[in-house]
């Protein structure tokens, strides 16, 4: 009996505490009000306390303990009653009400300004409560009843507030607000229905935990972004050109040259993206520089330029928005040493795990992790030879820098060689694809090499992982930029060549006119067949082709690595284990673990290449969308069939913002080459939508001069002053960083 009463008293005390918390909460909400409403609040507070006391007195009399929500609804009802009374300004005596604070007119219908404002404030409070209801830590029954009360209150008094001036407008505003809320809710429902692969990710999560699944969530997000980019490019550039532009074969730039026509359909030629593919809407060179096309007068060159810029703009916006959304969960330093054991105890179990085997693994890894931390704790005064450690770390860094320089030089050398190859005849398959092969091999073998060297450094695994990621990042970046530099040499060569070809074309056309017209006649000469016109080297298409080939080879290498490195390995371990000397499953090859950071970095770099290449090869984004789609299914299958959950889990980052930050960096780095070529290189004279102009951005000037009224051009010429633009950019940046 005693324990019964004790527990009841305890519960009563808890509930009273919670009650006070609640009234304090509502109090703090309304602290924003003017001082004149203080009396009201004091009353409310005392009401709350009185109700609490009332409730406890009731219980003491032996009645059944009212449930929390009953008391709440009692409370709420009393509050609404009080407000009703104040609104009506009736002076009713009540054991709750001492005095009302309203001192104005006693007219029932017209409310005074002060009361109106007060009422509106209370309605706003209730609305805020409704909006944040799901964040409240109450039982569901209580949430539902409080919600009902609040909604009833709001509905009742919205009508009252509408009396007086502006009643119709207010009612209209309220109705629109309600419709908007409903629309947003329906839209959110619709959006969540559209999210694909939810069940697949859940399966991966329950087998492998949240860190592996985070890769697939990232992949899905990338797929969404690429889908939007694809829609932009496809709808605004490719489709208009195909539907309304000149067809294949009508112009030199759209036709396969006579010399290549014999082999243009061969598979090996198509695989290299030459032949018919090169002269199609997938690449820059196909597009005509006609200012408007079709009966819609669609300005294609302008559209091409604007879409190119908006690809970067949209990606930037989406990445920053995602980072901002993740910013709440990003907290203080994840390497904080202050809470090691506490975090191990309370955050190491992954609630997503639903598979018995994974759970066993998890229990084992948690136990191991505790034991290690205990050992570390007990030996925290270990004597360490600092000098040796420092020497080894410096040595490791030197070795790695050598590797990076070596790989950079190798790529430069190979790209130079491929240029000489392209001038030769009879090149074998290897010579044609040497660059891509070398880059992929470097990307495959250098990271494990770095890991072996890093064993010298003896860092804590989390820090070691960060160094490893940083080095892989430097490797990929270095490779990409070396590749680009070598490509730039190529481009400059082509530009020089262009002048020569321009002359040749000019003289060829003249000689053709002369020969076909004969002497003296003034008839118009038959046009030269487009396949015979001598062509300029068209460097943009070349750049586009190179990047597309690199992307495709990267895709292939990734898939083959997964197939061989994971699947074949798993088959080997499973089936050969019966007849092998040592235990394959526990010993050397064993099953592979899913390499999260490697895969995420691969995805990020792939996206960087897409951003770089999409201006010169509009079809590239379509290829990427296909790649991401197949990747999702392929990698899900590979993970479920051939991988085992991690023995130890070390997340590289505190939050997803680490990878988002990398993505942002890559976005800027891939914007640089494109911006450079747009600003400072002259476009080819005979291919692409900007042919004939001195610089690509001149298309904007042209559009403004010809399509907009005169004063707009004047305004733009004033606004385009650097003195105005720089402060404007700084202002926008500072505004964004403060919000």
């Amino acid at each position: 009996r005693k324990t019964d009463r004790a527990s009841r008293l305890e519960r009563k005390k808890q509930e009273k505490d919670k009650e006070e918390d609640e009234s304090k909460e509502e109090d703090s909400c309304s602290q924003q009000n003017r001082a004149s409403r203080k009396k009201n609040h004091q009353q409310k507070n005392s009401d709350g306390k009185k109700a609490g006391e009332e409730g406890s007195r009731q219980r003491e009399r032996g009645k059944k303990a009212p449930t929390k929500d009953q008391k709440e609804s009692e409370n709420k009802e009393k509050k609404t009653n009080k407000k009703e009374k104040e609104g009506d300004d009736k002076q009713k005596t009540d054991r709750k009400n001492s005095t009302t604070s309203s001192s104005n007119s006693s007219d029932e219908e017209s409310l005074s300004e002060e009361e109106l404002a007060m009422l509106m404030e209370q309605v706003e409070q209730k609305k805020k409560l409704i909006a944040t209801m799901r964040n409240k830590p109450w039982r569901m029954m209580k949430k539902l009843s409080v919600l009902r009360e609040a909604q009833a209150f709001v509905e009742k008094f919205e009508g009252a507030l509408g009396k007086g001036k502006g009643k119709k407008l207010y009612a209209y505003k309220m109705m629109m607000a309600k419709k908007w809320v409903k629309f947003k809710r329906d839209f959110d429902n619709f959006k969540t229905q559209c999210i694909p692969w939810e069940m697949k990710i859940k399966e991966v999560e329950s087998h492998f935990g949240s860190s592996v699944a985070s890769y697939f969530i990232f992949l899905r997000w990338m797929y969404g972004v690429n889908l939007v980019l694809f829609g932009l490019i496809f709808g605004l550039v490719i489709i208009p050109e195909i539907l309304m532009g000149m067809p294949y074969g009508s112009m030199p730039r759209k036709t396969v040259p006579r010399a290549e026509q014999a082999t243009a359909m061969d598979f090996s030629v198509l695989w290299d993206f030459e032949g018919y593919i090169k002269y199609s809407a997938l690449f820059y060179g196909y597009y005509n520089n006609q200012r408007t096309i079709g009966w819609l007068k669609y300005r294609l060159p302008m559209a091409y330029f604007m879409v190119g810029i908006s690809v970067f703009g949209y990606s930037l916006m989406v990445v920053i928005r995602s980072m901002a959304r993740n910013a709440n969960e990003s907290t203080a330093d994840g390497d904080d040493d202050n809470f090691i054991f506490s975090w191990k105890m309370f955050t190491s179990w992954d609630y997503l795990i639903g598979n018995p085997e994974t759970a066993d693994n998890k229990f084992a890894s948690i136990t191991t992790s505790f034991k290690e931390s205990i050992v570390d704790e007990q030996e925290s005064n270990k004597d360490e030879n600092i000098h040796l450690r420092r020497f080894l770390r410096v040595l490791a860094n030197v070795l790695i820098i050598c590797c990076l320089c070596g790989s950079g030089y190798l790529i430069y050398f190979v790209v130079k060689r491929s240029q000489t190859f392209s001038k030769m005849q009879n090149v074998g398959w290897y010579e044609r694809n040497e660059v891509e092969i070398v880059m992929s091999l470097l990307g495959m073998f250098c990271p494990p090499l770095f890991e072996t060297i890093a064993a010298l450094e003896n860092y804590h695994p989390r820090i070691g992982l960060k160094w490893q990621l940083g080095r892989i990042f430097a490797l990929f970046l270095g490779n990409l930029y070396t590749f680009l530099l070598a490509l730039m040499d190529d481009v400059n060569e082509k530009l020089a060549e262009e002048d020569v070809v321009k002359n040749i074309t000019h003289w060829t056309l003249i000689s053709h006119h002369n020969s076909s017209v004969g002497n003296g006649s003034t008839a118009t000469p038959p046009p030269l067949d487009p396949a015979d016109v001598p062509r300029g080297p068209c460097w943009e298409t070349t750049v586009g082709i190179e990047i597309v080939r690199l992307t495709v080879s990267d895709i292939l290498v990734t898939y083959i690595t997964i197939l061989v490195g994971d699947f074949i390995r798993a088959c080997f371990v499973r089936f050969m284990n019966y007849c092998w000397c040592w235990d394959l499953e526990a010993g050397f090859p064993s099953y592979a673990e899913f390499d999260i950071s490697g895969n995420v970095l691969g995805l990020i770099f792939n996206q960087g290449m897409i951003w770089m290449g999409s201006f010169y090869a509009p079809g590239l984004v379509g290829i990427n969308v296909l790649r991401l789609l197949t990747s999702m299914y392929f990698q899900c299958w590979a993970v479920m069939s051939s991988n085992v959950p991690h023995a130890r889990v070390f997340k590289a980052s505190k939050s997803n913002n680490f990878y988002m930050g990398l993505l942002l960096l890559i976005l800027f780095l891939s914007l640089l080459p494109v911006a450079y070529t747009i600003m400072s290189l002259p476009p080819s004279f005979d291919c692409g939508p900007f042919s004939g102009k001195k610089r690509m951005y001149e298309v904007i000037q042209e559009t403004i001069e010809l399509d907009f009224p005169l004063f707009v051009a004047k305004i733009f010429s004033y606004v385009a002053n650097p003195g105005l633009i720089i402060p404007a950019i700084l202002l926008m940046v500072s505004k964004y960083s403060f919000c």
């Binding site: 799901r134 830590p137 029954m141 809710r185 429902n189 506490s342 105890m345 955050t347 018995p356």
Partner: protein
């Protein structure tokens, strides 16, 4: 949109959407899951708010909870009568708090309740020992357990009363990098 379902009234669904982080479709799916655990007991028609509770034994055998060492505590923390039987409201509430969209503060409140085995509003040494035993399936020696529990109290106890109050717990968990991703159940 399509009002073909007769399980809930529209007002009920709207209220659920306001009180949880779920969309309409997810709430209906949750009802399906709740129903299939005990098809004879759980009615298909919830428009009259029937008073049906499912016992703890059924809930902790759900695939999402089956392997979780804290499954009994989770269910107890969300059950209204403290015994572990969940009505549909509590069921929805539980998965709403454990879903991806719930904010850190809300999750911290319930995490505290879950790890507080003796429900005295403090995580004391015996609670820590029980948590540790569940996490390691009792593979640690008694010495190691004592050491770990003492370390935890040393790290997180700010007010020096030898046990973790909610403020201590929240202070510690708000800085944890993995909390949001591990304290998450997808349904």
């Amino acid at each position: 949109m399509g009002n073909k379902q007769t399980i809930f009234t529209d007002e009920q669904l709207d209220a659920y959407q306001d009180c949880t982080f779920f969309t309409r479709k997810e709430i209906l799916r949750l009802h399906g899951r709740y129903h299939e655990m005990a098809p004879n007991v759980v009615p298909m028609d919830y428009t009259k708010d029937p008073d049906v509770k499912l016992p703890m034994q059924l809930i902790i055998n759900m695939p999402e909870l089956k392997e979780n060492p804290f499954r009994e505590r989770i269910v107890e923390s969300f059950s209204e009568d403290g015994e572990g039987s969940l009505s549909f409201n509590d069921f929805v509430d539980m998965f709403s708090v454990l879903s991806e969209m719930a904010p850190r503060e809300l999750k911290a409140i319930y995490a505290f309740k879950i790890y507080d085995f003796n429900t005295d509003n403090f995580i004391c040494k015996s609670d820590l020992e029980k948590t540790l035993n569940k996490l390691t399936r009792e593979e640690l020696t008694a010495e190691e357990i004592t050491l770990v529990c003492e370390k935890v109290i040393e790290e997180a106890d700010m007010d020096g009363d030898g046990k973790l109050g909610f403020a201590d717990f929240e202070n510690m968990i708000s800085k944890a990098p993995d909390f949001l991703s591990t304290f998450h159940i997808r349904i």
